[in-house]
């Protein structure tokens, strides 16, 4: 008999783990709340550091889940742990008895409008990183061509007032990537990146940074403090250039806010029903930080991806694969004796 495994979340982590598990011969059921699979990846245009089209990666993921039962637009209405298995009721009326559950609920983007001073939703020219990706993805261009564009790193990250003192890990590289892409589209435009610290930690990320510098993108070490609209409807942006120790202002046509990662609300809903513990940052806590990263405190419930904190895509894929291994081991130890 094939063991049922429920995967909650159809983003990169959920998809990759489902693919591996289904290759291992498990009966994988995947529940995704959105209409389409892929999570945030499906909304992205190109990926850092080498600008691989997101679609390529997503197509690769979807190829791997041919044998997985996918329910889209499906919430987990209730879930509880029976004797050894989990009983989950999905919003489409299906009830599943799963021997193991993988929670891959990922993250929600920080709501940029919470940073009132940046004027997201107030000023026409202010947008988020996700909006920008959508613009790229749809091949739209701004008209008239912008003369100046700014990217604000750490929007809703490293910001206690916004409720998230932690770093979201991916925004720096995303900002630099989008800055380069913007500069390529509008070579005449002045492109600015307002950063607090540039966290270009991954392989090839520093190359991306150097590439941006050589393209003439200006990096200003300082956080944007406020945004205002000029009489022509452009954006007057103020920050401190901390390297000069002086306040700075510049008029921009577009301001792109690098909204950070917040714990997924849908994930929390599942977590509350199972009494899963979250840490101070709102993300789920693993059993420990080194050897049992994929395990929750509940036997049979595993984590993969950004539900345990901000991660890059490669990190997420590693986690998905190791979660599949953990689940396999768990099933073999507990159900096949």
């Amino acid at each position: 008999m094939k063991n049922n495994i429920l995967v909650i979340g159809g983003g990169p982590a959920g998809l990759e783990a489902s693919a591996v598990l289904s290759r291992m011969g498990y009966n994988v059921i995947l529940a995704e709340k959105e209409k389409r699979l892929g999570g945030h990846l499906a909304k992205w245009d190109r990926l850092f550091p080498d600008q691989t089209p997101a679609k390529e990666v997503l197509d690769g993921l979807l190829d791997g889940i041919k044998d997985v039962k996918c329910f889209t637009e499906t919430d987990v209405n209730s879930i509880n742990l029976l004797d050894r298995s989990f009983n989950a009721m999905l919003s489409n009326g299906i009830t599943i008895l799963a021997d193991a559950v993988l929670l891959a609920s990922g993250f929600d983007m920080f709501k940029a409008e919470k940073k009132e001073e940046y004027g997201y939703g107030i000023y026409d020219g202010v947008m988020t990183n996700a909006d920008m990706e959508q613009v790229f993805r749809e091949g739209k261009t701004f008209s008239p061509a912008p003369k100046a564009i700014g990217f604000v790193h750490c929007v809703g990250s490293r910001d206690e007032k916004a409720g998230n003192p932690a770093c979201s890990k991916v925004c720096c590289a995303t900002a630099v990537k989008q800055a380069i892409e913007t500069k390529e589209l509008y070579p005449e435009a002045n492109v600015y990146c307002f950063y607090m610290d540039l966290r270009m930690f991954g392989r090839h990320y520093e190359d991306l940074y150097l590439r941006a510098q050589k393209a003439g993108i200006r990096f200003i070490r300082g956080r944007v403090s406020e945004v205002a609209e000029t009489s022509e409807g452009r954006l007057l942006v103020k920050a401190e250039d901390t390297l000069s120790s002086r306040p700075v202002k510049v008029t921009l046509d577009r301001l792109v806010l690098m909204a950070g990662m917040r714990p997924s609300e849908a994930g929390h809903k599942v977590g509350r029903q199972l009494n899963l513990s979250v840490e101070e940052d709102g993300f789920f806590s693993s059993r420990d930080g080194f050897l049992s990263l994929q395990k929750s405190k509940l036997p049979g419930l595993f984590y993969a991806g950004a539900c345990t904190g901000p991660k890059t895509l490669p990190d997420t894929f590693h986690e998905a694969r190791s979660a599949a291994m953990e689940i396999d081991r768990y099933i073999k130890e507990n159900f096949r004796k």
């Binding site: 600015y192 150097l210 510098q213 050589k214 103020k238 000069s244 202002k249 510049v250």
Partner: protein, 108 residues
């Protein structure tokens, strides 16, 4: 005009809208290295002249990007071209020639 005994205090704010982009581009065409600075400050830290006077390639580059060319020239005014900054720059910027070019393009 009336003298009230006080007058405007000059603004310390950098106005990027007023930075001379053309001039900076002409510098960057001559010295592409100017774009590579990541503001680590090694140059200023090792500067021979900096032991006596405010001298910093990092700040000068930044001042130019901020359109404050007078400040930039002032920051390089005491340079003895000893080359320590070139030696220590992690990005391999040819600071000595950059300094000469800044002095030639922006100096009076």
């Amino acid at each position: 005009m009336i003298d009230f005994g006080f007058s405007f205090s000059p603004s310390s704010r950098i106005n990027l809208d007023k930075a001379d982009k053309e001039k900076f581009l002409s510098l960057a065409a001559l010295e592409p290295d100017v774009l590579k600075c990541m503001a680590c400050g090694s140059c200023s830290a090792s500067c021979t002249a900096g032991a006596f006077e405010d001298t910093s390639v990092r700040k000068a580059i930044l001042s130019l990007q901020n359109g404050l060319s007078d400040d930039a020239v002032k920051l390089l005014n005491h340079c003895m071209l000893c080359g320590k900054c070139t030696m220590v720059c992690p990005r391999g910027i040819n600071t000595r020639h950059l300094i000469l070019s800044i002095q030639k393009i922006y100096g009076k």
